[in-house]
């Protein structure tokens, strides 16, 4: 089992504690409130993924062949989702990120909420994470 899958499984186990959508929502809001904000200098337009209802700023950097993601949003819920994605995707090699299937999103029952790409731009954020990984891969190749 890859490391990414292990982290995904841990998230799924956490979410198994919740039966109701209400509880999942509250947990994700708490995660969002705990996520450290992105420094203002990184909140630039070229890092911005604009959604109809909220925007995401995604910053990627490289350390020892691994990609570190930091991100922020004007929505606390989206920040909570970001926190989950960062747990799974940050600190991985470009290859791991590109191949990540992110099955946990379905397994924790968040697909219906995350699928609203117009609403929260999260699907665009996953795409952007993978694009960064492809970019880093080319740079180091």
């Amino acid at each position: 089992m890859s490391d990414i899958q292990q982290v995904e499984n841990e998230i799924v186990e956490d979410f198994e504690l919740f039966e109701e959508w209400e509880e999942k929502y509250q947990y994700i809001i708490e995660l969002g409130q705990k996520l450290p904000p992105l420094a203002d200098e990184f909140k630039t337009d070229d890092r911005k993924i604009k959604g109809c209802q909220s925007s995401v700023w995604l910053h990627a950097s490289e350390s020892d062949g691994k990609i570190i993601f930091n991100a922020d949003s004007d929505s606390t819920f989206v920040k909570g989702e970001i926190a989950l994605l960062i747990q799974v995707m940050s600190g991985r090699t470009p290859e791991e990120i590109i191949n990540a299937e992110l099955g946990f999103i379905d397994r924790i029952g968040l697909r219906q909420h995350m699928a609203q790409t117009r609403a929260n731009g999260l699907a665009s954020m996953i795409k952007q994470m993978k694009l960064y990984a492809v970019g880093f891969q080319h740079k180091t190749a």
Binding site: E20, W21, E22, Y25, Q26, I29, Q33, C52, Q53, S54, S55, D74, S75, T76, F77, V78, H113, A119, N120
Partner: protein
Amino acid sequence: MSTTANTTKAFDVVSIRRDFPVLNEQPYGKRLVYFDNAATSQKPTAVIQALVDYYTKYNANVHRGVHYLSQRASDAFDSVRGKVKDFIHAANEREIIFVRGTTEGINLVASTYGRKNVKAGDQVLVSAMEHHSNIVPWQMLCEEKGATLKVIPMNDKGELILDNLEQLLHERTKIVSIVHTGNSLGTINPVKEIIKRAHAKGIPVMVDGAQAVAHGSVDVQDLDCDFFSFSAHKMLGPTGIGALYGKFNLLEEMPPYQGGGEMISAVSFDHTTYNEVPYKFEAGTPNIADVIALGAAIDYWNTLDREAATKYEQELLHYCTEKLSAVNGVRIIGNADKKASVVSFVLEGINALDAGMYLDTKGIAVRTGQHCTEPVMTRFCIPGTIRASFMFYNTKEEIDFFVEQVEKAISFLNP
């Protein structure tokens, strides 16, 4: 659900609610509070049954079959044009064109009347509170023709500023297209006055009636508008159907919209002659089932005391406005003197999406975001609002629960 004592007596919301089966749904096991009526209204059983009846009893293509089913379908379909005519008080049922909805109605006018009459250097006038669907079709036309889109501005209350309308009604203005009732703020515009002033300069006016038809009676002859478009799904009917009204002489002069069957009278490889108005604008097999169900929606409206329904909605509007205004951290956007039953608001320091999702967990359906009116949000320097929009089947009791949950959302999201 009980109604509060001071509800308009003539309007029996308890029995009305029984006509709308979806209101019994329980999202996440919670009682549904449906306050997203400006996005789409719920459907009474009569409308749902009309769809089922058509498909189970007389599904057939119209206007060309010689058989029983086709004649029955044609009769049912054809009768709706007259119902729509009466619903908006048009003079002649040939002035009614079936379209997919308000958006297609506006696009039809922009690409036929607009394309024929707007030339390079001309102007098209809209307002600052238009839905994207009454901006983009005109922008596309202006780009194609080298014309300019002009905008009637809006004040801080969310009302149009008409002081400089005479200057905006320029000698090069070829059409004015304006929303009757704004979807994001609920402002009811003085369209009759705008039409009168535009007509004084010989300029035709299109009215976006999407929000207006469900919240008060519309009389296109009294308004004297040249075009008027609305969607069935916002007035208890099905999605995918709506109507465009156009003054007969204008429709006669306009080129066709799309080509195909039904809109022609004779076709050869050398030349095609077009069918008469309104069929000239209705290419292809029409949306038979939804037209018939639109007819059922109009029949349903006719069973209601519409004046009482609108009055009741106004009560809901004022009740909610008053209660929400008293909540610390709530700022209502759009305080026009004349408003439909829409309350748009922001919570200080809280993202609208987060609040909307909180309310969703409690079974409350509202819309959050820009409501397809990005320029309105830009005007008020806000990223989006939470919008609660009421229909006559909503109750004060629902508003009580809603305001209570808004207060809880504020304390939960603002630790």
